[in-house]
C-alpha cells in the first residue's frame, strides 16, 4: 500500500470539515450523484475532448490538448504519484515515498511486478529517463520549469529512485503528478514516445490528431478497482454547440467545458447529468507593478475595488463559480484561507484611493480576448462599466485570439489571463507570484512574500505551513498586482448510463482528467 505522507500529518480537522461540508452541499445542488454501486467491467465510453491536428505524443510538448492529457496522461501512462479524488497525494507507480528531514532528498520505492504494455518490467532507470527527458541545458520541454528544482536523480537499485532537490520542498510528490511527467520505457536512457507504451489501465490503439484517439482496456492492469471500459474513444469537438449536440443526441457519453450559455438546454434532456466541481482554475487581470500607474499600491487596490465581481460572476459564469479574492489559492486548494476577505464592489473607497494616489480620474488600457478565458472581452467591458463609477476610465482593447499568449500576455501592462491553477500553494506561487518566477505576469516583487515562500516550501509541519500560506494569501490579495475576480467551476456533463465514484476529483475537469480510469458503464 502506498504511504500517505503529506496530508495525513497536518490537516486541521476544522479546515477539512469546512471543505468537505462545502463539497457535499455542492454535490447535492449540482447533480444527483449516481447511486452508490459497484463498478463493473465492460462497455464502451465515448468522450469529447479538444484535440489539435498538431498534437504530438512527446510529453515535452503537452499542454493544450485534452485528448492527449486525458487519453495519454490519464489512461495510457502512470506517474510516480497521483492526486486521489480526496485531494491527497498518493503513490501511483511508487509504493512509498519519504523525504529527508530538510525535505531536500526524496526517496521513492517502486511497486513490484509492474509491466509496460509492451511486456517490459518497470525499473528505476525508466523513471530517471522519463524525468530527465525534460531536464538539461538543451531541453525544449514545456515542463523544464517544473523539473528545474531537481538537482540530481539517482538510481541506487532497480526499485529505488532518489531525487536531490536544490532546496527543500515538502510538496515534491505533488509535482510528480504533473501531466508532463509520465513514465515511459527507457532503452539505453532514451524513450521512444512515438508509439505510446505505458503502464496505465488502457493500451493505445490509434490516434488521428485533431480527430480521435482509440484505447482498449489493459487486462493486466496492476491497479485494483480501476479501468472498467473495454474500449474508449476520445473525439475532438471544438465547437461548443457541436459538443452539446453530440451529447444530447447520444453520440458521445461525456463532455467537459459545458457551454454555460446554453446549459439550460441540457436540463431538458433527462438522461444527461451535469456535474459541477469547484476547482483551482481562476481568471486574472495582471498589471505591471513596475510601471505607472500600477506601481502605486493605492491604484492597484482602487482597481480591485472598482470591479463588480458579483455581477461578473452572474454574467460571465452565470453563477457557476465563486467570487475571487485576488489570491490564486482557491477553495479547492489545501491551504485556502476561508477567512480571507471577500472583496466587494466599493466605488467610493476606490475613488478615495485614487485621490490618495494623486489621480482625479484614472485612464488605463486593458487588453482582452476570449482566448484568455471564455467571456474575457465581456468581463473587461463589465469592468469598464463598474469602474467608471469609481473614477476609472478603462479603455478595453479587443485583441485577436490568435497568438494571444505570444503577443499580448506578458507583453502588455494590463491584460486578461487564465490559470488552471496548481494542486499546491507552493507550485502556484513560485511559478507566477515569486519575484524571480518565469511567468510573473504582474512584475510583482514582495520580500516578505518571497521569504515566506522559501520557508513554507521546506516546512514539513502542516500547521505552520497553513499559517504561512494564510499570510501569503493576505499579502498577495492586498499588495499583489493581479486582480482575480473569479474562481470558475469545472462544468462537465455525462450521460447517466455512465457512473462515477462517490467522490469526484476537483483537481481538474472530468474527475481530474482520470474519468477513463475511474468511471464505468452503469
Amino acid at each position: 500500500m502506498s504511504r500517505l505522507i503529506l496530508p495525513r500529518q497536518g490537516f486541521q480537522p476544522s479546515r477539512r470539515a469546512v471543505l468537505a461540508g462545502g463539497a457535499a452541499v455542492f454535490a447535492m445542488a449540482a447533480a444527483p450523484r449516481a447511486r452508490a454501486q459497484e463498478p463493473k467491467k465492460g462497455g464502451e465510453f465515448r468522450l469529447v475532448a479538444s484535440g489539435n491536428t498538431s498534437d504530438s505524443h512527446d510529453p515535452a510538448t503537452w499542454g493544450t490538448s485534452g485528448i492527449i492529457n486525458i487519453g495519454l496522461w490519464g489512461a495510457v501512462y502512470n506517474n510516480l504519484t497521483e492526486v486521489h479524488p480526496s485531494g491527497e497525494v498518493i503513490g501511483e507507480l511508487a509504493e512509498s515515498f519519504e523525504p529527508s528531514a530538510d525535505a531536500r532528498t526524496w526517496t521513492f520505492r517502486l511497486r513490484d511486478g509492474i509491466t509496460f504494455h509492451g511486456g517490459q518490467t518497470l525499473e528505476a532507470a525508466d523513471v530517471a529517463a522519463s524525468i530527465n527527458h525534460h531536464r538539461g541545458e538543451n531541453s525544449t520541454s514545456s515542463a523544464k520549469g517544473i523539473v528545474a528544482p531537481i538537482a540530481d536523480i539517482r538510481v541506487p537499485d532497480a526499485k529505488t529512485v532518489v531525487f536531490e532537490l536544490n532546496q527543500g520542498n515538502a510538496d515534491f510528490p505533488f509535482i510528480l503528478t504533473d501531466y508532463h511527467l509520465v513514465i515511459g520505457k527507457a532503452v539505453e536512457g532514451a524513450i521512444d514516445w512515438e508509439t505510446p507504451n505505458g503502464t496505465g489501465g488502457y493500451t493505445f490503439v490509434s490516434h488521428n490528431p485533431g480527430v480521435r484517439m482509440v484505447l482498449e482496456r489493459n487486462a493486466d492492469y496492476w491497479k485494483d478497482g480501476r479501468a472498467h471500459f473495454d474500449r474508449v474513444e476520445l473525439i475532438s469537438i471544438r465547437d461548443p454547440a457541436a459538443r452539446m449536440n453530440a451529447l444530447v443526441t447520444g453520440e458521445v457519453d461525456a463532455i467537459s467545458s459545458v457551454d454555460i450559455k446554453s446549459m439550460s438546454l441540457l436540463a431538458r434532456a433527462p438522461e444527461i447529468e451535469v456535474m459541477e466541481t469547484p476547482g483551482t482554475q481562476h481568471y486574472t487581470f495582471p498589471m505591471w507593478c513596475d510601471q505607472a500607474p500600477f506601481d502605486d499600491v493605492n491604484v492597484r487596490q482602487a482597481l480591485k475595488l472598482g470591479l463588480d465581481r458579483e455581477a461578473m460572476l452572474q454574467t460571465i459564469l452565470q453563477g457557476h463559480g465563486s467570487v475571487g479574492r485576488d489570491s490564486p489559492i482557491t477553495p479547492a486548494n489545501r491551504f485556502f484561507d476561508p477567512e480571507l476577505a471577500v472583496p466587494t464592489y466599493d466605488p467610493e473607497q476606490a475613488r478615495a484611493l485614487l485621490k490618495k494616489a494623486g489621480h482625479d480620474r484614472l485612464a488605463v488600457d486593458l487588453s482582452a480576448a476570449d482566448a484568455a478565458f471564455a467571456g474575457a472581452v465581456d468581463a473587461a467591458t463589465l469592468f469598464q462599466e463598474s469602474g467608471s463609477a469609481a473614477g476609472i476610465d478603462l479603455n478595453v482593447i479587443r485583441e485577436p485570439d490568435d497568438g494571444y499568449w505570444s503577443n499580448v500576455w506578458l507583453k502588455k501592462p494590463f491584460c486578461a489571463c487564465y490559470w488552471a491553477g496548481r494542486p499546491t500553494e507552493d507550485w502556484m506561487f513560485s511559478q507566477v507570484y515569486a519575484s524571480d518566477s518565469q511567468w510573473n505576469d504582474a512584475h510583482w516583487k514582495n520580500e516578505r512574500f518571497d521569504s515566506l515562500l522559501l520557508e513554507a516550501r521546506a516546512e514539513l509541519d502542516q500547521d505552520k505551513r497553513a499559517e504561512m500560506y494564510g499570510e501569503m494569501q493576505r499579502i498577495v490579495a492586498t499588495d499583489g498586482g493581479t486582480i482575480i475576480p473569479l474562481y470558475a467551476n469545472y462544468v462537465d456533463a455525462r450521460n447517466s448510463r455512465i457512473a462515477t465514484g462517490e467522490q469526484v476529483s476537483t483537481a481538474n475537469a472530468l474527475d481530474g482528467w482520470k474519468c477513463i480510469e475511474r468511471w464505468w458503464v452503469a
Binding site: 489539435n52 512527446d58 499542454g63 525544449t140 520541454s141 454547440a241
Partner: protein, 319 residues
C-alpha cells in the same frame, strides 16, 4: 482544331504551375508576417525564453527565411512535402486522409447540388414570372442569405435532435464502410447543397432566359415545339458556357470553403487542418494545404474553360 486545343491546354497548365509557385511565395511571406512562430505556439503559456530558443534551433527556424523557403521548394519538386514542425509527422500523412475526406464530401454535395440547381434553374426559366419561378427563387435566395453555420445548426436541430434521423457528428473513421459514411456525411452534404445551389440555380435561370429572347428560339417556338423541348434542346446548349463556369467556381468552393461546416459537424477535412496549422504556425502544413486549394481552383477553372470551348463551336475556331 484539336492541335490548337491541345496547345491551349498546355499553355494553361504551364500558367497554372506558375500561379501555384507565386502563391507558395505569397503564403510563405504571409506566414512570416504573422506574429509569433511555431516554437512559441507549441510551448504556449508554458514557454520560457530558453526553451523557445532551443526549440527554434532544433526546428531550424534560426535559418533565414529565404533559405527555409528554398529548402521547402526543393523538397516539393522532388515530391517531398516535408514534416510538420509542430508534430514531426510527415505532411503527406497528415494531409492524405483528410484530402480524401474533403474531396468525397465535395463530390457528395456536388452530386446533389449540381443536378438539383440546374434542374430547378431550368424550371424557373420555363415558368419565369410565375408562381413556381418565384417560389424557387425566393427559396434559393433565402438559403444563400443565411450563414452556413446557421443552416447547419438548424439542420442538426431538426434532423438530429428533434427527429433523430441523422447523426449530428460526422466524425467519420477511415475504416467506415460506404453505408456508414453516407449516413454520417449526409447532413453536411445537405448543408453545403443549400449554401451553393442558389448561385448555380440563378445563373442557369439567367442564361436560359437570356437565350430565350434570341430569334432562333422564337423560330423554334414558331415551328410548334413544346416549351420543354425548346429549352432543353435549343436554349440550354447555348447557355451552357456561363453555367459551367459558375458550377466550377462552386465546386472549388465545396473543396476550399467548407471550414465552418466541417467545424459544426466535426468532419475531419482539410479546412480544419489548415485552420489548426495556421494557429500553430506550422508553415509546411499550411503551405501544402494552401497549394492543394489553389491547385483545385486552377484546375477546375481550366476544366471549365475547356468544357466551355467544347460545348460552343464558335469558340473552337481559331481566330
Amino acid at each position: 482544331m484539336s492541335g490548337g486545343l491541345a496547345r491551349m491546354i498546355a499553355v494553361r497548365i504551364g500558367l497554372g504551375a506558375l500561379t501555384l509557385l507565386l502563391i507558395s511565395g505569397l503564403i510563405f511571406g504571409a506566414m512570416g508576417l504573422l506574429p509569433g512562430d511555431v516554437a512559441e505556439a507549441i510551448l504556449g503559456q508554458n514557454r520560457t525564453p530558453e526553451t523557445v530558443a532551443a526549440l527554434r534551433t532544433q526546428l531550424g527556424l534560426d535559418q533565414p527565411a529565404w533559405s527555409r523557403y528554398l529548402d521547402w521548394i526543393g523538397g516539393m519538386l522532388t515530391g517531398d512535402f516535408g514534416k510538420s514542425l509542430a508534430s514531426g509527422r510527415p505532411v503527406a500523412d497528415l494531409i492524405g486522409g483528410r484530402l480524401v475526406n474533403t474531396l468525397s464530401l465535395a463530390a457528395y454535395a456536388a452530386l446533389i447540388s449540381v443536378p438539383l440547381s440546374i434542374a430547378l434553374g431550368i424550371l424557373a426559366a420555363l415558368y419565369r414570372g410565375r408562381l413556381a419561378d418565384r417560389g424557387i427563387s425566393i427559396g434559393a435566395l433565402t438559403a444563400i442569405s443565411m450563414p452556413d453555420f446557421f443552416v447547419a445548426y438548424v439542420m442538426i436541430f431538426l434532423f438530429a435532435v428533434t427527429w433523430g434521423l441523422l447523426p449530428s457528428l460526422a466524425a467519420v473513421t477511415p475504416d467506415a464502410g460506404l453505408g456508414e459514411w453516407l449516413y454520417r456525411a449526409t447532413l453536411p452534404a445537405l448543408a453545403l447543397t443549400l449554401a451553393t445551389s442558389a448561385h448555380m440555380l440563378r445563373m442557369t435561370r439567367a442564361s436560359i432566359v437570356n437565350v430565350l429572347a434570341s430569334p432562333y428560339v422564337e423560330m423554334a417556338k414558331l415551328k410548334g415545339l413544346t416549351p420543354s423541348r425548346v429549352v432543353v434542346r435549343h436554349a440550354l446548349p447555348n447557355a451552357l458556357a456561363p453555367i459551367i463556369n459558375v458550377v466550377a467556381v462552386n465546386l472549388a468552393f465545396l473543396i476550399v470553403g467548407v471550414v465552418v461546416v466541417e467545424t459544426v459537424f466535426v468532419y475531419p477535412g482539410l479546412g480544419q487542418l489548415l485552420v489548426d496549422s495556421v494557429a500553430a504556425r506550422d508553415v509546411p502544413v499550411v503551405q501544402a494545404a494552401c497549394l492543394i486549394f489553389a491547385a483545385a481552383y486552377v484546375s477546375l477553372n481550366l476544366l471549365a474553360d475547356i468544357l466551355a470551348i467544347l460545348t460552343n463551336p464558335r469558340l473552337r475556331t481559331a481566330r
